[in-house]
Amino acid sequence: MEQQEQQSINPPLGNEQAKKLLYQMLLIRKFEEKSAEMYTQEKIRGFLHLYVGEEAVAVGVMQALRPEDNVLCTYREHGHALVRGLKPGVIMAEMYGRQEGCSRGRGGSMHLFDAKTKFYGGNAIVAGHLAMAVGMALADKKMKRDQLTCCFFGEGAMAEGAFHEAMNLAALWQVPVLFLCENNLYAMGTALRYTHAQTNLELKGAAFGIDSSTVDGMDLLAVIKAANTAVAAIRKTGKPHFLVCNTYRFRAHSMFDAELYRDKSEVEEWKKRDPIPGYFNYLLQQQILTDVDFKKIEGQVELEVKQAVDFAETCSLEPVEELTKYTYSEKQD
């Protein structure tokens, strides 16, 4: 038992697993860059929040989850959706506002939903989805289903009352939720030190009696280990866990953000800790992968992203006659 657990916490990093993780991080990076490009071409409209720089968090956490687990994310969720298994083309189509998109084009960038992969958004009111996550875990507990709910949110959400209510309920009811804080240091444009009196965010878990941990979110292997540890504990105890991943967003908050609130030098400093080269250099040193492997993976990713755009270009708009469809459920006979 102990040995098994140990193994699941530190999975043997074989060649295939290493390639997969690298592929996922690169897929997010290039998908996001392409999304920005499509935004400037006005193919994508509305809000667009990119995950560039934070890839290690989604990739590291998602690999710890099982298909039956529930996943809830914020409006900066393309990366999570990709890693969870939504097809890049379906996400791109969603951002194009096309009915072949994962939410029929109705949600756009901020509202990716997918029942098949139990991906519950794409939630764009900060901290609004935390209590829902608790409720989903409560349902699992009541129905005696052996699964957990993973809820991603930013450190900005932790200043909301809704965060505190959700943490209290989860602890009170002892339900299996992984509260996953992606601390990228900025709530839109306001730095952590201006929004939280206690900037050691993981300490807030203790107030609710929730086991908490913190990890360098730029280090994929560290995230994997922390996520596996947290998830193993939740599966074993059925209790919530609070994990803070300290990370950084390399790009602007959204496409409307002029980034007046931080120095370019700060961004450049963080880019030295870019999780993708960081991870690849490790793989090189360990002689797990080679430069040739990297080029090959990069080529595959670029092809997949190109195909996503090609697919979105072929997709259709939902007929206006269907505007009100699904405001209410269709009659079940």
């Binding site: 009915q99 609004g128 469809k325």
Partner: protein, 328 residues
């Protein structure tokens, strides 16, 4: 049990009890629903009968437990979330407006939210401005929700089951001032359609269109009007969203006059909407302009005489209708 008197409170309680017995997925959660027995004793002894898994006391955490109710509904349960009174519901408005009401449409039809939220509502117990709200119009504004108003004992007893069977979020407004009111329950329950308004009294001279506490007031007024030779029809809207326009139209087409009554303040109210629909659909049927008797546009004050003056009273309905029909 024909002929037997039953309180509005007992009707709600029986409905909840029956729902808990009928479906293992149903549970109730809210502030003080368990050990306290419900702030208004609606769920008294249910904890003893069904246990703490099904009768869940929550902290004072409206956003939290309404959100958890939405999540539990997504997870396959059939939660009844009790928001102790409507006055606290705005703390959960983000959950209701941004999650419950939007998820199905925003996800392209993938995720429906089979949630029932009950809240005790209204004026009449001298609780002053912060505890006397009539916010039906506020919630009835939101597409994606079904808004029910329990104006009779029959609905108190039989509306919960169809609400729980609805695949989408339903908010049920109950009325604190009616809890102790005793009435006879119809001996056999006709199946209640929560998409339909109901004609509570048929008449030919005027349609009194109302909901909630207005229903019994309107029926009382109609009885008095009958003595004066005026045959008033009383339409209980029951469903404030989506509004049952056909029942309204049919009634007004028959009586050619409409008089709208509600406790909520007049501007941007349910009656504003009903009036507009009548103009759109029944303009040429009308023999007189639509008239309204609504709540005063004030925060509800504490003293009894001022509180009474803040909402329509049966005598005012009678006087106004006599004037409208030139019987005065």
């Amino acid at each position: 049990m024909p002929g037997q008197l039953i309180t509005y409170r007992e009707c709600i309680k029986q409905a909840i009890r029956e729902a808990l017995q009928a479906d293992e997925r149903v549970f109730i959660m809210g502030e003080d629903v368990g050990r306290y027995g419900g702030a208004f004793a609606v769920s008294k002894n249910l904890l003893q009968e069904f246990g703490p898994e099904r009768i869940m006391d929550t902290p004072l955490s409206e956003a939290g437990f309404v959100g958890a109710g939405i999540g539990a509904a997504l997870g396959g349960m059939r939660p009844i979330v009790e928001v102790m009174t409507v006055n606290f519901s705005l703390l959960a408005l983000d959950q209701i407006a941004n999650n419950a009401a939007t998820l199905l449409h925003m996800s392209g039809g993938q995720f429906n939210v089979p949630l029932v939220i009950r809240m005790s509502s209204g004026v009449g117990r001298q609780l002053a401005a912060q505890h006397s709200h009539s916010w039906e119009p506020l919630f009835a504004h939101l597409p994606g929700l079904r808004i029910l108003s329990v104006g009779t004992h029959e609905d108190a007893r039989y509306m919960l089951a169809p609400a729980l069977a609805d695949p989408d979020p339903v908010i049920i407004f109950e009325y604190t001032s009616m809890l102790n009111l005793e009435k006879e329950l119809p001996d056999s329950a006709e199946s209640i359609e929560i998409s339909k308004a109901k004609v509570r009294r048929a008449g030919k001279d005027i349609s009194i269109i109302t909901y909630g506490t207005g229903v019994y007031k309107a029926l009382e007024a109609a009885t008095e009007l009958a003595a004066a030779g005026i045959d008033a029809e009383v339409v209980d809207l029951r469903v404030l969203r989506p509004l049952d326009e056909e029942t309204i139209v049919a009634s007004v087409a028959k009586t050619n006059r409409a008089f709208l009554v509600e406790d909520a303040s007049r501007s941007v109210s349910v009656s504003s909407e009903v009036s507009a629909r009548i103009m759109e659909r029944c303009f040429y049927d009308l023999d007189a302009p639509v008239q309204r008797l609504c709540g005063a546009e004030v925060p509800i004050p504490y003293p009894k005489h001022l509180e009474d003056a803040s909402v329509p009273q049966p005598a005012q309905i009678v006087t106004a209708i006599k004037t409208l029909l030139q019987h005065a």
